[in-house]
Amino acid sequence: MSLLKVENLDVFYGDFHAVRGVSLEVNEAQTVAIIGANGAGKSTLLQAITGLNTQKRGAVTFEGKDISRMRADLIARAGVTMVPEGRRLFGSLSVEDNLLVGESTKRKGPWTLAAVYELFPRLGELRKMQSSTLSGGQQQMVAIGRALMTNPRLLLCDEISLGLAPKIIGDIYRCFDAIRQSGVSIVVIEQNVAQACHASQHIYCLLEGRISLEGDPRKLAMNDITAAYFGTEQHS
């Protein structure tokens, strides 16, 4: 059954109509990728789902409940969280304090400090460090760990590979299996099409705020994806 269902969603970013009539679905324990060029409306879409963006029309249903009018912190407590673009750690807090803020949803589940340190052993060694002093890859691990600490059912990841070395991106994506096995569905936003196709069971391609293509990445032709990504071809 579907965990998250977005129907006919319009989102505004200031005066800009960033997302236009988008519908999508995420099933339990599934990884879904949303790809698209810069400014296609990907981030705005995720912000609307998490409630950070409130200028929206349309339905967002999570576990059968409409969350489109819910406050962002209540959506998080219902089990939807996000790893924001640019990581946005609490820079003056230590690694462990960053993770512990994630407990604020008061949700029970498999993700505890110990579980996060097991997933990212490096963080255990760095737990007393101030988070702003970490490297980009380490910061990304803290950001993912912090989100996991909320024990979400649905984890949204906004451009987690941006600015990171390929090896580190590989490390991070490898953790996704463990996360999914704990019963968490994942939505990733990617500019790297190959990475997105590799990591997901279903992709949506956004072009100028609309979905230009969707389907199982293993069944889609690379040409069609590229066309949908750049909008180089007319499609009806």
């Binding site: 996000m82 609490f90 909320t150």
Partner: protein, 292 residues
């Protein structure tokens, strides 16, 4: 010796000034809100203290506890009912809102209590003194300084060690991201404003015990608080403490030299520091009240 004694007394007064600044600086550090009505809330707290101290058991100085509690409640209401409604990128609405509030509060107090000078009577303690290194110091000022230090340290400890303290620090860093983790930042802001007013209220009551106040004292209190925060805005929590002491010592020394000077030299010293230390001041804007 008389000069040393003046400096010592300035330090004792400065601790209290630091406490006046702490509420303003804390609220700014967490919420980027500058509550212009802070000075008038300080005076209002002194009036509450004035009415409560006759009923305070054990010792009148304990009146700071109920006053702090009341101020905490008022702070929460203030944030929830008023300031939270005008939060946004633009700081002007919140500043103007609190400015309007300051005017209402000040003139309300004049209408209610009259413009006379008042003081909270702590009994004989006011006259107790002791000799220290050849200086004659008052017991009350020392007690007040100790309370100020304890409150500074307690706030630091609580922010660093408690769950709520951690959430407050996180919210100060990024009030949007905390929402993704299930935190309602508006509630956090309300708690922070409650704390800010409670700290200021304690300062107000202690000030009313050491000296006198009128409903019009709020403007002076606000300027002191502001100067403490700016001088101490060298990026640290205890910087504010230093700021308070600088002001306290300056003021008492100036009064010794020129009894008609009042607060002028305090203002001037503040301005000189503003001129001399652009570096320290610029760090104010990325001020992390909570850093070591």
């Amino acid at each position: 010796m008389i000069w040393l004694e003046t400096i010592a007394n300035g330090i004792l007064l400065g601790g209290l000034y630091a406490l006046i600044g702490l509420g303003l600086g804390f609220a700014f550090g967490v919420m980027r809100v500058v509550n212009v009505a802070q000075g008038d809330f300080i005076v209002a707290a002194a009036f509450i203290g004035l009415y409560l101290y006759p009923w305070t058991p054990i010792h009148p100085i304990l009146v700071i506890l109920p006053v702090a509690l009341i101020a905490f409640g008022i702070g929460i209401l203030l944030q929830r009912l008023l300031i939270n409604r005008v939060l946004g990128h633009d700081q002007i609405p919140q500043i103007l809102l609190t400015f309007g509030l300051a005017i209402v509060l000040r003139n309300g107090m004049v209408a209610w209590f009259g413009a006379n000078s008042q003081s909270i009577n702590v009994g004989n303690m006011r006259f107790w003194g002791f000799n220290f290194l050849g200086m004659r110091l008052g017991v009350l000022p020392v007690v007040v300084l100790v309370i100020a230090i304890v409150l500074f340290a307690a706030l630091r400890f609580w922010l660093n060690r408690s769950r709520m303290g951690r959430i407050i620090r996180a919210t100060a860093d990024d009030h949007q991201v905390v929402q993704l983790l299930g935190v309602n930042y508006r509630n956090v802001y309300a708690v922070a404003m409650g704390l800010a007013l409670a700290l200021s209220a304690v300062a107000g009551v202690l000030l009313a015990m050491r000296g006198s106040f009128t409903p019009y004292s709020g403007a002076d209190r606000l300027l002191i608080a502001f100067e403490v925060v700016v001088i101490g805005g060298l990026g640290s929590f205890w910087g504010m403490f230093i700021g308070g002491i600088v002001l306290g010592v300056t003021q008492l020394l100036a009064l010794k030299i020129d009894p008609s000077a009042g607060l002028m030299y305090g203002h001037i010293v503040f301005f000189i520091i503003l001129i001399l230390s652009p570096q320290g001041l610029s760090s104010l804007f990325s001020m992390k009240v909570f850093r070591k």
